[in-house]
């Protein structure tokens, strides 16, 4: 049994209910008419193949049928997080242990501000 957390159904579901749909966060060129062939080709055909943390698009095909994102480690196959479309990943190549939460970030900022005041 291998379970994946669906952020829309808000529960763990059996893996066979899901399908992978490739790399996530691929931005379409804002103006396709003026972008270069190379940029358009990159957008259409070229995908990352990282060793380590990878953001992927999945669909809960048998279930709510919503697309969502998974951050997955391509070495260990570990799923680090699942998050809704439009949300930002917490685990990235720059922050493999997870970005500090908003609260921690706010605290760090507050500390920095106080130190600034002291200086």
């Amino acid at each position: 049994m291998f379970h994946i957390y669906c952020p829309y159904c808000e529960e763990l579901r059996e893996e066979e209910e899901f399908h992978p749909k490739g790399q996530a966060h691929i931005a379409r060129p804002t103006d396709p008419d003026t972008c270069s062939d190379e940029a358009w080709g990159d957008y259409l055909f070229f995908r990352d193949n990282p060793r380590g943390i990878h953001h992927e698009l999945w669909v809960h095909a048998v279930g709510c049928r919503k697309f969502f994102n998974i951050t997955r480690n391509t070495v260990s196959y570990e799923i680090l997080e699942t998050y809704k479309i439009g949300e930002e990943p917490r685990f990235t190549a720059e922050h493999p242990a997870g970005k500090p939460t908003e609260q921690a970030a706010a605290e760090a900022e507050a500390v920095a501000r106080q130190e600034g005041v002291k200086a």
Partner: protein, 222 residues
């Protein structure tokens, strides 16, 4: 954006009164496979509730909730995988996805209900949240009830979803994998389970249920 706003929908009665009788999706299966009779030994009883009105509502939760309350006096379940019934237990509404609900009403009510919902939602077109859809899917699916002491054993053989009462309380319904196919599994009361089957899978799933239920002497109520 007003150019893209839906201004009219093709609304028609999917169940017109004609000489040709409508058939349940399981009609052929009853003839071909038969119906094992219910006996004292039956620890699972299968009952089809054919020809109910099934409507799919799509749109924003707040707009649809207003309309459903106004027309049916029912609250739209906002939590994932929630299922609610009216007092009679005849009408139910189930969360299918963040913008999709399944409404099941007694057969024959669905066309009038759809029109009343459209009337109630008509006002919604003037607000910022304009888009909704109501689709009659009654012809595409059927509802099968399972009752008896061994229903949970039968379900455990068929679906990887956890059907233990702790994980699957009354008032829950999920779309999930079932016997390599998929269906909507719901638990309206303590001892009754409902399966919403697609018409094209109905025969396969019926035969699966008879096979899986054979050891519990499954019976089919006419």
């Amino acid at each position: 954006m007003s150019d893209h706003t839906l201004t009219c929908a093709n609304v028609y009665d999917a169940r017109p009164a004609t000489e040709v009788p409508a058939e349940s999706p399981l009609a052929w299966s009853y003839q071909n496979t038969g119906r094992p009779s219910v006996s004292e030994k039956s620890r699972v009883v299968l009952r089809e509730r054919a020809m109910l009105g099934h409507l799919i509502l799509r749109g924003g939760a707040i707009v649809l909730d207003d309309a459903v309350r106004q027309v049916l006096g029912l609250q739209l379940p906002g939590r994932p995988n929630a299922l609610s019934h009216d007092e009679s237990g005849e009408r139910s509404i189930q969360w299918l996805s963040p913008d999709e609900w399944l409404l099941i009403v007694p057969g024959g009510e669905e066309f009038e209900l759809e029109q009343r919902l459209r009337d109630a939602l008509g006002d919604a077109r003037d607000t910022a949240v304009k888009n909704y859809a109501i689709v009659n899917v009654g012809g595409g699916q059927t509802l099968v009830e399972l009752e008896g002491e061994c229903v949970r054993e039968l379900l455990m053989k068929s679906t990887p979803y956890d059907v233990h009462p702790d994980a699957f309380p009354v008032g829950k319904g999920v779309t999930t994998v079932f016997a390599k196919s998929n269906l909507i599994l719901r638990r309206p009361t303590e001892d009754r389970w409902e399966l919403v089957l697609r018409r094209s899978f109905a025969d396969y799933l019926y035969r699966w249920l008879l096979d899986a239920g054979a050891e519990y002497a499954i019976g089919v109520e006419a």
